[in-house]
């Protein structure tokens, strides 16, 4: 039982990580698209 909160927290942080990674990928793509558009 002691590991349950830890596991929950880990799952939550992992999900957050995934979202952050997706957002980062998107923003990088947007940045590069903007740069390329204006080259």
């Amino acid at each position: 039982p002691a590991t349950c909160p830890l596991m929950e927290e880990l799952n939550r942080v992992s999900a957050e990580n995934k979202k952050l990674a997706e957002m980062l990928t998107l923003m990088c793509e947007n940045y590069n698209a903007l740069k390329n558009q204006l080259m």
Binding site: A2, L6, M7, L10, N17, K19, L24, L34, Q37
Partner: protein
């Protein structure tokens, strides 16, 4: 009778541990202690598992922090580049350059954010609008824990705003709660997207010209793409409801990732991202005379409406 002819009925209940040891069998004497032995084995395993979980949690948290910092940096660079080039072209460019940039930017705004997954969080929104119009009349928030991403463009006098609204993958209703009431007048399937596209008119039509198209994003089915055309000429049917964002809220820009109430550790990072984006957006908007004029008109409109009600 010869006893040797009887079958051997011995149960081999040998209690001599020494003999059992030598025979390779488990000592029967230790059987009653098996449970406690197992417990002793399990506790270290559990402790070890807990330790591993903590290590993993630390690792993921560190990575989380690093990602958030990188995201902040990329966002800063993106908006700095966007604003810089926008400003540069609006100052130095010829009319042709401006027109070309306007076209490019419009295309960019629409193309680059299609299927985006940005804007996770507690009703925060990021908006990028073109030079012609910085006024955002459409609500782009449909719940306390929902989020959307908006791209606005103006073609002539008809303003087109696109919102990316997260939705449940199993929800096929194509409903985007935006504080206005709509009448569905059509639906069709497009070649590029297996999900149908629903067409809505504002319930105040024909006096209100606003139309709305809603379709699940082909690239990211977790999002609905809601495209609004035109500007409502009446207040929202649910101005104080939860679905309707406040005016201040509609201008907020954020890259929030999850509900703040669940992540006290992330609050600082989110605030930083929000602050940067808000500052950049505010700086961009306040430089635009059209936005100032639209804001003034909106405020004066409110003042004029108040005595009537």
């Amino acid at each position: 009778m010869d006893c040797s002819s009887y079958p051997d009925t011995a149960l081999d209940l040998n209690t001599n541990p020494m003999e059992l040891d030598f025979s390779g069998k488990r000592p029967k004497r230790e059987e009653p202690n098996t449970a406690s032995a197992d417990m002793e084995m399990k506790w270290p395993v559990k402790a070890e598992g807990s330790s591993m979980l903590k290590e993993e949690l630390n690792r993921v948290s560190t990575e989380n922090k690093r990602l958030a910092e990188m995201l902040t940096t990329v966002c800063e660079n993106y908006y700095a580049l966007y604003n810089h080039l926008d400003e540069l072209l609006s100052r130095k460019g010829t009319e042709d350059d401006k027109r070309e940039w306007s076209m490019k930017k419009r295309k960019l705004d629409l193309d680059e954010f299609v299927g985006c997954t940005i804007g996770f969080g507690s009703g925060k929104t990021e908006s990028i609008s073109s030079d012609e119009d910085h006024h955002h009349p459409h609500p782009h928030h449909h719940g306390d824990h929902c989020e959307s991403f908006k791209v606005t463009e103006s073609i002539g006098k008809s303003k087109v705003s696109t919102f990316y609204v997260p939705t449940d993958i199993s929800d096929t209703s194509l409903t985007v709660k935006d504080g206005y009431q709509w009448r569905k007048y059509g639906q069709k399937v497009t070649r590029d997207n297996p999900s149908p596209r629903a067409y809505f008119r504002c319930s105040f039509a024909p006096s209100c010209p606003v139309k709305k198209k809603v379709q699940r994003s082909g690239e990211n089915p977790l999002f609905l793409v809601a495209t609004y055309e035109g500007t409502h000429n009446h207040p929202s049917s649910n101005p104080s409801g939860g679905d309707m964002p406040s005016q201040a809220g509609s201008n907020r820009v954020a890259l929030d990732v999850v509900q703040s109430g669940q992540r006290p550790v992330q609050d600082k990072k989110e605030t930083t991202i929000q602050e940067v984006l808000v500052q950049q957006m505010a700086s961009s908007l306040t430089k635009d005379p059209n936005f100032t004029a639209a804001l003034a008109a909106a405020i004066s409109g409110r003042f004029l409406e108040q005595p009537r009600t």
